[in-house]
Symmetry: C2
Subunit: 272 residues, 2 copies
């Protein structure tokens, strides 16, 4: 595909689906002159319920594709892939890689230096204990809570919906029985869409915890690492979007996550 | 793997995940002397949200694996794969193939010759209109309703749970606004686990529709096609179970679907 390259960096953004578009959304105002290559491995989602070996294989294939397409920085905008396969991804490409876990933990500590942290995430992210390990490395105590139904209800479009409230309330009540967090990390890039609901439900359950969103934390970290655009630059961002399954669904659902219409999506066969 | 073969048929049963075990569960009492080879393509589930091309590619690979393992009859215990890829599967193997759609529709008509039918299924099954087409061929009028959240709530283990009741009630109310069914077909092999809840919710919403379960309808059809065991046979059924992802999860969740502990599961790499 012939794409006119702007002067800024080329940033590869990878997720198992649409969720990573919440990271891209946060990156756009921070690095407006970049060329973005987004890959959603939608044929093989959800990663959250799969094993480490399978997730690592999928993630490495996607990372290599983005590097081969010319990315000079890679953002793994998927908590599950970061939690289970960041090391494998880093050795499989020669460009710098930013994952979502460490930026979210760093943001939590910035907000609350000795925070007790509650992490909401998919089953695979929780089982990896990636957040617990990264929190422990900073002296923070973390409780991890698997919320397998949040991605499906968000993908159903039930963003501010009684069922989503009830599901969230069940998960949060179970978690708050086990800990009293200062910070709640949204450890899945789908969850920013229900961030207001999480804050509200926490209040209803008597918690004063603040919500930290791994998508915006990751975008800020990536922007620092990449270096943001010179302020004089007027080049608008350009996009290439790839999905491994139904591009119609990607374009339709993805615009909710990106917060603007999705540019042209190309179907990609990674051989899975 | 060395497995002692009984005298009965070797039956390959395929699903994207655990759901097809509800068909296997119904097959066991009907053909007790068979050797069963079950394949759950769990690394690539759910099929329900993927495109026809992708589903057909996955299903054909799985069907060929079962034929190569020695199956002399194939049961496609997956509504989505049947709806979107039965023709592709049939031409890819040389053994007889039974899908789930036609048996369910035949069972509906047997119960109610001029039934108005409501089909509950995944998004992909509904989009294929496979049930509508098969119903129309028998002069039956069918309304198809996509229920994307039912598989996730069932896999969460929320079988008789307020959230599942609420989700089901929303889907059924939307469907009953559009039709007054005599028969409700459970067009997904996960749904037998919530069959009592479907019947109860229909009654609560003022419907007198009867529930037809595609899993038991398919097992009865397959048993007729294969020929059931001679009554004198005392050979117990034997099993080979394969999953393309986490065999622990398969063994744990699968026993709920099979209604008995899952025999040893082997991890299979289909190259996806």
């Amino acid at each position: 595909m012939a794409v006119e390259q702007p002067k800024g960096p080329t940033i590869g953004v990878f997720d198992s689906g649409f969720g990573g578009l919440t990271v891209l959304r946060e990156l756009l105002p921070l690095i407006p002159n970049a060329h973005y290559i987004y890959l959603g491995d939608t044929a093989r989602l959800p990663y959250g319920s799969k094993s480490q070996t399978t997730i690592a294989r999928y993630a490495v294939e996607s990372a290599r594709f983005l590097a081969d397409r010319g990315a000079d920085h890679l953002v793994i905008a998927c908590n599950t892939a970061t939690a289970l396969a960041l090391a494998e991804i880093e050795v499989s490409v020669t460009i710098p890689v930013t994952g979502v876990v460490e930026p979210a933990v760093a943001a939590a500590q910035l907000q609350h230096p000795n925070a007790k942290v509650l992490v909401l995430a998919t089953a695979a992210t929780v089982q990896s204990h990636a957040y617990k390990v990264h929190c422990a490395a900073r002296g923070l105590d973390a409780t991890e809570k698997a919320c397998p139904l949040l991605v499906p209800v968000i993908e159903e479009g039930w963003i501010d919906h009684p069922v989503t409230r009830q599901v969230l309330s069940i998960y949060l009540r179970e978690a708050l029985d086990a800990c009293s967090p200062d910070i709640v990390i949204l450890g899945c890039t789908h969850y920013p869409l229900i961030a207001p609901l999480v804050s509200q439900t926490l209040k209803e359950l008597g918690s004063t915890a603040e919500v930290v969103d791994s998508a915006s934390a990751t975008a800020r970290t990536a922007a620092l690492q990449i270096g943001s655009a010179p302020s004089a630059s007027k080049s608008p961002a350009t996009f290439e979007c790839y999905a491994t399954d139904s591009i119609e669904k990607f374009a339709r659902l993805g615009s909710d996550f990106l917060g603007q219409p999705i540019p042209r999506v190309e179907l990609l066969d990674l051989g899975g």
